[in-house]
Symmetry: C2
Subunit: 444 residues, 2 copies
């Protein structure tokens, strides 16, 4: 197949053969012309490293910043290799121009802010920084899967259209067939959505906020399952950590009986991922101290730490209330200076499906990490639930647990938050997903 499709820069850099003639396809990322020679950096986006193309001024006439080109040339060891600069360069023999950019091309070679680029999501992938993040996203998904596959987890696809609200408290999106009359998607044609919704599926149907309950049913037949899936929250929030459409790794395991098993899986998963990314050539300074053992405290211990913190935690901590972002931040960034699992939350603030761990607490766990806050949430699930204890519409879920009840548990991990955590300097999850969706705006 490498013979079949053009060679990418990624493949070229894996085994560079100086002296050979190669075809490079890509986009001109920078251009330096002088009287006798011209240097163009060309990237195809398949890897971080562009290729330096050396041309004569005559050849360079067709080249311009941003253009899409095909260049045939001879790969040579660069004269600057000894200086630790680019090892190889391409001595251009033939240049084919596909297309140039217009005067209004927003991706200029200067410092573009992330806010500016976010308004051009269809073009920002052409910047080195943004394509770096998206390649990390790709390798991260692969690294997560490699751990799960090695440990006998089966990948599956629970539904996104659902008639039940997993969390019981989320703000959901309603879904309705849209009776189209013309070719346009004009909102004035939207009519009678309520009736449409119920009549299509036979009951009100929503976009999932988490596939957990369906995933549990699958774990109770295949022992270990996971999905990497979109999920949706109709929250009107504008924080740097929330999206209306986001991706989650969701994992469920049958036959696990302790919280240590569950947190152990999460810790090993993320440590495996970091090792995996290092082997792929990624490096971030803050990854090193993540390889120590992570802290584990109970919610009650967390409240005590926060109460004794002095003024670091802005909101007064109180047993029975959710931890605020400031609380999480104090625990991870100040007190532990690293990831911490918080377990055994008050029953009253957690969903119905969590297994009790004491009279007043459930076997829930959150993994909090520096800067990002909650990265993973999970719990041991109740082995069995009576039909009258589940919310309306979840009779099937009760039946699943009633039939051959089995200890099990699982967790969800937000992919965009994971990437923000891995990058360290990505301060907004909107930079980690190609076309972010949140309340107020859809660009492209």
């Amino acid at each position: 197949m490498k013979r079949f499709l053009p060679t990418t820069l990624k493949t070229l850099w894996e085994k560079p053969s100086p002296g050979t003639i190669v075809d490079v396809h890509g986009w001109v990322r920078s251009l330096r012309k002088s009287k006798n020679v011209c240097f163009a950096m060309v990237s195809d986006g398949t890897c971080q490293q562009p290729i330096q193309v050396v041309t004569t001024p005559e050849q360079a006439q067709s080249l311009s910043y941003g253009a899409s080109v095909k260049i045939q040339g001879k790969l040579e060891v660069s004269q600057k290799a000894a200086l630790g600069k680019q090892q190889y360069e391409l001595l251009a023999q033939k240049i084919d121009l596909y297309g140039t950019v217009n005067n209004d091309y927003p991706i200029q070679k200067k410092n573009l802010t992330t806010e500016f680029l976010r308004q051009h999501p269809h073009l920002r992938v052409r910047t080195a920084k943004q394509s770096d993040v998206f390649r990390l996203r790709s390798d991260t998904l692969e690294g997560l899967r490699s751990f799960l596959t090695k440990n006998d987890f089966i990948e599956t696809n629970p539904p996104l259209l659902t008639s039940s609200d997993c969390e019981g408290a989320g703000e959901v999106f309603l879904v309705a067939p849209y009776p189209k009359k013309g070719n346009s998607t004009d909102s004035s044609e939207i009519s009678n959505v309520d009736d449409q919704n119920s009549s299509f599926f036979g009951k009100p149907t929503f976009l999932t906020v988490s596939t957990q309950l369906h995933l549990e049913a699958l774990a109770l037949g295949m022992a270990r399952v996971y999905t990497i899936t979109p999920a949706f929250r109709a929250e009107n929030s504008h924080t740097s950590r929330h999206l209306a459409e986001f991706w989650m790794l969701e994992v469920e395991l049958a036959f696990i009986e302790t919280m240590d098993t569950l947190t152990g899986v999460v810790e090993r998963l993320i440590k495996h991922l970091i090792q995996y990314l290092k082997q792929k050539g990624y490096h971030r300074d803050h990854w090193n101290h993540l390889m120590n053992e992570w802290h584990r405290i109970s919610y009650t211990e967390a409240i005590d730490i926060l109460k004794n913190s002095g003024k670091a935690a802005l909101d007064p901590p109180a047993w029975g209330s959710d931890l605020s972002s400031e609380h999480e931040r104090y625990l991870t960034d100040v007190y532990f200076r690293g990831p911490v699992f918080v377990t055994d939350y008050p029953t009253a603030i957690k969903p119905f499906y969590m297994k009790p761990s004491s009279k007043d607490t459930v076997a829930a766990m959150d993994l909090l990490v520096p800067q990002v806050g909650e990265l993973v949430g999970g719990s041991l699930r109740k082995d069995i639930i009576a039909p009258e204890e589940v919310p309306k519409g979840l009779e099937w879920y009760s039946e699943t647990l009633q039939q051959a009840n089995t200890p099990h548990g699982g967790f969800g991990l937000g992919i965009e938050r994971l990437l923000a955590f891995l990058e360290g300097d990505v301060t907004n999850v909107r930079e980690t997903i190609p076309f972010p969706r949140s309340s107020g705006s859809i660009f492209a």
Copy 2:
């Protein structure tokens, strides 16, 4: 980690160590009791092969069909190994019962029809046949990705919430935030969905029918991209090949210029997948003859073949109309007896983004396969499109192509149809996805 989580049957069968004591967790799939001894087949769903557990009648008292159990025992070579039956069996020492099934347990040990099981999607994963299909699904996703990763494709996640209708002709679902007043999801509380929709995102928003246009934008910065993504069609169809929610592999490649390149990628992808599955131990008789070179014909040739077929094709074929299911079936099942690429369709019946291949045709391709029909659809895309040539709302797409226009193309492959094709004897795509969604019914 293998020390950390309980050993699965999958791992046990990889390197069985007769004479060792092992813990097996699983569900009782069959039970045979006699006066002196009891045999139970126990499966944990991680692989096809269950384990035969040998117990005394006393030990067996806690065992019943369907129950969830933990059994500690000694792994021994079975006395029936010489007969070609199960190689190993577990001599039970200690049995822990987690849970039994109720009298109304629908998964009984008898021939259950797929239609019956479809009404119990939350429990059907506990049958051997259905969990087989879901494991094939998992390995199929892995096999597709292994080909793409090897060939420098970057995995990405274009949005599912979109303000544009890719195909321009699909029946789409509208999405609106659902103003929740209580804990129930009662349809009487749905109000004012039109206003809600527009006000949340600032414009009418739909579930994607294909992420292609966004994926193209990403290919024009990273050269080769793919996504395995849910997509949605609000079609009121009840065929065995349609779902309202389905998964697709979508692939886009920059710098490809010919249809042969595009069909070549598809053919190699699926052949690689079959080899991959064979290495994983899967086998289906009909896979062998798929390894021959696949046929390629133009739409015009297809019409000629159909016209000359006599009465085999039920509808009269006419140049300019779409091929019907009967037409596709004749080409794959009767005429070619195998997969066939049909290329160069009439411009008038294809979407605006396809590249012309002649005055009246576009460089579109469909891969038709026996029994299933259209498995893959794709095309070379127009390198450049003027703003006035795109549907309203797709100005960003036009801008993407205008800036450094680049030859490119891609395709979409339906995961559920692929699985039906691979299985051969799965006649309805609803058996290939855990919780099928289609018009008229949502079970669980």
